[in-house]
């Protein structure tokens, strides 16, 4: 019976059999409860500010590009600790990105100089994020929020950029972010409530044990304020000893965790408040002589610099 052609038909028929469900008592129970169950407040900021935010976004865009460039470079290896002296290192050079010759990918990678949809809103409302691909060998599916250099984010020299930007505009819980109390024992340390503000998110990230969190630093990115820190996966972490063999920092919604690739990974987490919704960028890399090449770190900085966020209201 299980041929490809028959199975959908049989399945559909089986699912549509009458199973004698009676929902009325359930409704009665629910109605008895709602009189003592208040409706939750909305998390989203009101749309009345959108014009102001739009104005500010464009007014601040030029300055924000410079700020982000400094932020990313400061957090990459060889730079002083966040909050320290300004880095003398050269900033990423958008002009170099702009002058790169667009090239047709032959290996499935993204074309150099092309505009890439890093994240696309799932419904009519939400956040769109676009970036420019600064060099060869970047892989990522449009709208899925992940870029990897040479399709590899693993130790010792991989690099990747991940964004968590789902929103609660349409579906409750979709954009909720929960930061685990312990990234190794995440199954039993997921908090009961999501982080709702930049400060809550940064505090929860900073509190994770054994992550060597840097001090949080304020940042304004494309008109949206936030903070960043860097976390480290311990070099001696044994993932197989962790829950389900995964080392997780956070989970978005019910089913989108950030599971780290390998021990020793560094993650630059930037948390932004975008009209009341949290957007989290994770730039992942490795340090050391065998670590992520400096040229790739420069490219990640350029990607962040090029990013534009559009909140569709």
């Amino acid at each position: 019976m299980s041929t490809d052609r028959e199975l959908p038909r049989i399945l559909r028929s089986w699912l549509h059999e009458d199973r004698h469900e009676v929902a009325e008592p359930i409704v009665d129970t629910v109605l008895a409860k709602i009189s003592s169950t208040p409706q939750r407040r909305t998390r989203r900021t009101a749309g009345r500010d959108s014009l102001v935010n739009t104005y500010l976004k464009y007014a601040l865009a030029a300055a924000a590009v410079v700020v982000i460039a400094v932020v990313v470079i400061n957090l990459l290896p060889g730079s002083p600790a966040p909050g320290g002296e300004p880095s003398p290192s050269p900033q990423p050079t958008p002009s170099a990105t702009a002058s790169a010759e667009p090239s047709a990918p032959t290996d499935g990678s993204l074309a150099v100089g092309s505009s890439h949809v890093l994240w696309a809103r799932l419904g009519a409302y939400g956040i769109d994020i676009n970036v420019t691909i600064p060099g060869a060998g970047w892989f990522g599916a449009p709208g899925e929020g992940v870029l990897k250099k040479n399709n590899n984010a693993d130790a010792p020299d991989g690099a990747g950029l991940i964004v968590f930007a789902r929103t609660n505009d349409i579906l409750v819980g979709l954009g909720d972010v929960y930061v685990y109390g312990d990234p190794c024992h995440w199954a039993t340390t997921k908090p009961s409530t999501p982080v709702e503000t930049v400060d809550e998110a940064i505090a929860a990230l900073s509190a994770q044990p054994s992550r060597d969190a840097t001090s949080p630093v304020d940042v304004t990115y494309d008109g949206y304020a936030g903070k960043y820190i860097t976390l480290h996966v311990p070099d001696d972490a044994v993932f197989s000893d962790c829950d389900e063999g995964e080392f997780r920092t956070l989970v978005e919604g019910q089913d989108t965790p950030r599971s780290h690739e390998d021990p020793g990974q560094f993650d630059l987490f930037t948390v932004l408040d975008v009209n009341g919704e949290l957007v989290i960028f994770d730039v992942a890399y490795y340090e050391g002589a065998e670590g992520t090449p400096g040229s790739v770190l420069d490219e990640m900085a350029a990607i962040m610099t090029s990013a534009t966020l559009e909140y569709v209201d």
Partner: protein, 182 residues
């Protein structure tokens, strides 16, 4: 769906919510029953989902999207009940004793039995896409919206769910053949 009712309920109108709940409850229970394959768990999931609809209605941005939004809450409730199921429910083989005999006779009854067992072998996540697609007749883009995942992910889940069903059914058939041969 009557968006007027949705808007009134968003404003805290309990009578409007009562009408809304009565409209969706049967479908919720039928859907969760099929996902969870257990009427007690399905009733709990339906109750929790309806309560969540009431509590979180103010967060619904577009009343016209109520259906997708409410199914999202139901799916979440099913995930929660499914976790309880994994802890407590034995993996019983159910015989369709109270099911009407189909026109195509004994072989169809056996097929339903096999199908029930194969379906129970799927994860709740995979059962959800199967039920949304083959019971509620939701296209993949609507399933993706309900689940909050890209369309490709929804398609992938459905593909692997169907593949899983086929594998279990084929393994079952092979085992039966061996029994007969033995």
């Amino acid at each position: 769906m009557d968006t007027r009712l949705v808007i009134q309920a968003q404003g805290g109108d309990q009578e409007a919510f009562a009408e809304l709940a009565a409209t969706i409850a049967d479908r919720f229970l039928a859907t969760s029953h099929r996902i969870l394959s257990d009427i007690d768990l399905a009733e709990d999931a339906t109750q929790q989902a309806l309560l969540s609809v009431w509590q979180d209605l103010s967060q619904l941005r577009d009343p016209a999207r109520f259906e997708a939004w409410s199914y999202r809450l139901l799916v979440r409730a099913c995930y929660a009940e499914g976790r309880k199921s994994r802890r407590w429910a034995p993996n019983l083989r159910l015989l369709p004793a109270d099911e009407p005999m189909a026109a195509d006779g004994l072989s169809a009854v056996v097929d339903r039995d096999q199908l029930e067992r194969a379906f129970r072998h799927l994860s709740v996540k995979h059962r959800v896409v199967v039920v949304l697609h083959y019971f509620l007749d939701k296209p993949l883009d609507e399933i993706a919206e309900i689940l909050g995942v890209p369309i490709g992910t929804a398609a992938s889940r459905l593909h692997y769910a169907m593949q899983g069903l086929r594998k279990t059914l084929d393994a079952d058939a092979a085992a039966r053949s061996r029994e007969v041969a033995g």
